[in-house]
């Protein structure tokens, strides 16, 4: 094997960074579950809506009534177990499954960072994150290891670098760089922030933030990887994510990213953090410093595991480019938009009025969306074609169950994107009951008739 490759894959590396990563990950996830619950979002997002928008192929994933609370409890407990490193493998598998299930219940709540947590927890299933400074390792001296193969650390760095780089590439478009959109819309609305509020109305600030944001995303993985720039990079990580926290409602994402970027540091830092945690009672860090090296047992599944990991990263690297297969403007059609680290790129809003037509009598009426959707669902539905189609099919089955027959459903919709005046969005002549969801281009989306240049 090439010596270079050996260094990044097999060479023993301190396990402390992964242990710190595991602890912070578990604690932040537990905190985010509690936060989600305390805001009443389980009720407002999953229990109160009469209808839920499903991901294509995951229509069977739905909120499960009051058992949904149990789902959050299990997910929260799994987070805690991950943090403690107690029955780690089972805990992280449980976390991945429950968290992903929660995210799949309704795509209205889709956020890039939820997706990030899902795939990160999937990756963590394959890592011996409990080898060091965990209850598992304390209980089983045989599985206590101070060193692990370095790939276990590097895959996390690789995933973080992918997220940043793709987020940066996505910003290389004319709306973001040349028009400072959508920050030009969002920043002035934050006029009430202390100290910086008044600055946020200024056009040069909008451009500075746009350019700095793109530059930050594109360079930060390298600055974190390179030892001499690491502290500066970390400073920027903290400043950048605190700014995003202050400016936007992006929940826990800033904390996750700040904590995650610690993985790039020298193990000395992590030992320091763990020593600090060891001040708590019943924790003795020294028992983990065994000097032992974790050896991967050569069993039949090992190749499969490596295969899965290689496939995982190939998918991660290729999936964001799938939009190239679709005609039309990505921001307009959103075909291939999600799961691609396109964060904060669009101020998009819409209006969709559905017309139910009896094909036999020609009689028709309009739907009051508030009868079926929450304001948040209606907002998300009104500018995303797959939502519009799914909702139209829901309306068809709803009104058919009320005895209507031979229904055709049309939508009159308008969408405004990044400060452009609203335009008709879906072809109002197309009967949506005749259209089916698929990965094929949706030819019933009206053309954008404008150009957003760039990646």
């Amino acid at each position: 094997m090439l010596p270079y490759l050996k260094k990044y894959i097999h060479e023993p590396h301190e396990a402390a960074p992964l242990a710190v990563f595991r602890i912070f990950f578990g604690v932040i996830m537990l905190w985010s579950m509690i936060r989600f619950w305390s805001y009443g979002w389980i009720e407002t997002l999953y229990l109160e809506p009469k209808f839920h928008f499903s991901y294509y192929g995951f229509e069977w994933v739905k909120p499960i009534g009051n058992w949904t609370y149990l789902l959050f409890i299990v997910c929260g407990l799994a987070s805690l177990f991950v943090a403690l490193g107690y029955r780690y493998r089972m805990a992280i598998v449980t976390f991945f499954l429950t968290f992903t299930y929660i995210e799949l219940m309704d795509k209205t709540t889709y956020l890039n960072h939820y997706y990030f947590i899902s795939i990160l927890s999937f990756l963590m299933i394959f890592l011996p994150a409990n080898a060091y400074f965990s209850i598992d390792a304390k209980l089983h001296p045989k599985s206590r290891f101070q060193y692990i193969p370095s790939w276990n650390i590097n895959v996390i760095k690789l995933l973080l670098a992918t997220v940043y780089l793709y987020a940066g590439l996505a910003k290389l478009n004319s709306d973001w760089l040349l028009d400072a959109m959508p920050l030009k819309i969002w920043l002035p609305s934050k006029f009430d922030l202390p100290l910086i509020g008044r600055l946020l109305g200024k056009e040069w600030v909008h451009y500075t933030f746009s350019w700095f944001g793109a530059l930050y995303d594109l360079t930060i993985p390298f600055l974190l990887l390179y030892q001499p720039t690491r502290w500066v990079a970390f400073f920027f990580v903290v400043v950048f994510h605190i700014m995003t926290r202050v400016l936007f409602n992006i929940g826990m994402f800033p904390y996750i990213m700040i904590a995650a970027s610690l993985i790039f540091f020298d193990p000395k830092i992590h030992h320091g953090i763990l020593r600090f945690i060891s001040r708590l009672p019943y924790i003795d860090k020294s028992i983990f410093d065994t000097g032992r090296v974790y050896q991967e047992i050569k069993y039949a599944g090992l190749k499969l595991k490596y295969g899965i990991l290689v496939l995982f990263f190939m998918v991660q690297l290729l999936f964001p480019w799938r939009y190239l297969l679709y005609p039309g403007e990505l921001f307009w059609t959103e075909e291939g938009y999600r799961f691609s680290w396109r964060v904060m790129l669009m101020e998009k809003s819409g209006y969709a009025q559905f017309k139910i037509v009896d094909r036999v009598s020609g009689k028709w009426f309009y739907v009051d969306n508030t009868d079926f959707l929450t304001p948040f669902q209606e907002k998300q539905m009104s500018y995303q074609p797959d939502f519009i189609l799914e909702y139209a099919h829901f309306l068809k089955s709803h009104f058919e169950s009320q005895g209507h027959q031979n229904l055709a459903i049309y939508v009159e919709s308008y969408v405004a994107l990044n400060g452009r005046l609203s335009k008709a969005y879906i072809d109002p002549q197309v009967d949506l009951t005749q259209e089916k969801e698929s990965f094929k281009p949706k030819n019933w989306i009206l053309p954008f008739n404008d150009a957003i240049k760039g990646i």
């Binding site: 805001y39 979002w41 709540t109 956020l111 890039n112 760089l177 040349l178 028009d179 400072a180 959508p182 030009k184 819309i185 969002w186 002035p188 609305s189 934050k190 006029f191 009430d192 109305g201 200024k202 056009e203 040069w204 451009y207 500075t208 350019w211 700095f212 530059l215 360079t219 001499p228 720039t229 502290w231 500066v232 920027f236 409602n249 992006i250 994402f253 938009y337 999600r338 396109r342 964060v343 904060m344 790129l345 669009m346 101020e347 998009k348 809003s349 209006y351 139910i356 009689k363 028709w364 009426f365 309009y366 739907v367 304001p375 948040f376 308008y414 405004a416 452009r420 005046l421 609203s422």
Partner: protein, 389 residues
């Protein structure tokens, strides 16, 4: 120190990023034109709109004066009624109808402010739920016992109930007078009428008092931007009013656009043919005047949604949205102005094409408000995590 060297590189990159876009933007997008530079300060274009000033204008010059004007009208309704009660004759009946109509029109200028104390009371539903339930009204009058605080009694009171008592209870004026002067039941009808008036008056007075005793300051001080800030909340309420009550309630529902079947019985002021058009136009005027920040009962304008849009456009450099919205309001008003009485349009045309066309123009303002304006102002609809996609 190697470390420091990189700090400078990074900062320089950052500075280059900012400075280059300032100088490049002329070529690239034309966002900063020479005109902009000359009329703004040395920082270039900037949004300087103060939401607090707009909120104060809304509260002090529009909302509270509108409530006061309504209470004047409703006070006049009460005194006119007192005259009628003392002497139930044809002249006094006519005056009472006029006073009722004036108060009803005045109501259209406060109905849109369903926020704060009005929202707590459910004022709009308490005062103007229609169609009114004439059977329920008759049974209340017959029994003499009724509780106007019950939500189930909302369709037996308010202006629509007065409309029934004044215009729907009998065919001719003589017969209406006969109801109120009937030796056995006349006083019961008169008393019910009075109770409805005082229910309206006391509710609105309570709301106005709440505005004057604290809520005004709460409203104006909450000048931030979030789903719970006054501007975000009220803009949502304002659009909700336009969509649900002005567009759907006064036109769409009677036209049957949501059900496929016309329903002229759901017209506002059902018993007074022609008046529903006036009420709609009053409502549209109130909406447009509010949008433009026009002081109540005066031609002066202050900070408003329109001026906010103008200010935002100084950096966006797009189509003047405030003009588009005003144009659309005007088109809608012209179209509705050309119609016969709503009841006639709906009952004598199948389908009521002219009124449907007018409705379409009223409808056309909805996406402008709900999509373009909300998007331009970055109005929050709900508190949830979002990453802008």
């Amino acid at each position: 120190m190697k470390k420091k060297w990189y700090v400078y590189v990074f900062l320089l990159l950052g500075l280059w990023a900012c400075s280059s876009d300032d100088s490049d933007s002329d070529d690239d997008s034309g966002t900063i034109t020479d005109d902009d530079v000359t009329i703004t300060d040395d920082d270039g274009s900037s949004v300087t709109f103060d939401r607090g000033v707009m909120l104060a204008n809304w509260a002090d010059n529009i909302i509270v004066p509108s409530y006061n004007a309504f209470l004047d009208a409703s006070g006049l309704l009460q005194t006119t009624f007192d005259t009628f009660k003392a002497d139930r004759n044809q002249d006094n009946l006519s005056s009472l109808r006029e006073a009722w109509l004036e108060a009803y029109k005045s109501w259209q200028h406060v109905s849109l402010f369903e926020i704060g104390p009005a929202e707590d009371d459910g004022l709009r539903l308490n005062i103007n739920t229609y169609p009114t339930d004439s059977d329920l009204i008759e049974s209340h009058i017959a029994s003499g016992s009724y509780n106007f605080d019950l939500p189930s009694n909302r369709d037996s009171k308010g202006f629509p109930a007065l409309d029934y008592l004044l215009n729907g209870i009998a065919e001719s004026d003589a017969e209406v007078l006969a109801v109120f002067t009937d030796a056995t039941t006349g006083d019961a009808y008169t008393m019910y009428f009075e109770d409805v008036i005082s229910d309206i008056d006391s509710r609105v007075a309570a709301v106005r008092d709440a505005w004057q005793n604290g809520y005004r300051d709460t409203f104006v001080a909450n000048d931030g931007s979030s789903a719970t800030a006054s501007v975000d909340r009220y803009v949502n309420d304002f659009i909700f009013y336009y969509e649900k009550f002005l567009r759907a309630g006064k036109m769409g529902i009677p036209l049957g656009v949501f059900t496929g079947t016309t329903a002229s019985n759901t017209i506002e002021a059902f018993y007074s043919v022609g008046i529903s058009n006036d009420l709609f136009e009053e409502g549209l005027d109130a909406v447009q005047d509010f949008f433009n920040g026009k002081h109540f009962g005066s031609a002066t304008v202050g900070e408003s949604l329109a001026s906010y849009l103008q200010d935002l456009n100084t950096v966006k450099d797009g189509t003047p949205l405030d003009e588009l919205i005003n144009d659309q309001f005007n088109t809608a008003r012209n179209m509705v102005g050309g119609l016969n009485a709503f009841k006639v349009e709906i009952e004598e045309n199948s389908p009521p094409t002219n009124m449907l066309l007018a409705y379409d123009e009223v409808q056309r303002a909805v996406p402008l408000l709900k999509v373009d304006m909300v998007s331009a102002m970055s109005i929050a609809i709900d508190f949830v995590d979002a990453d802008g996609d």
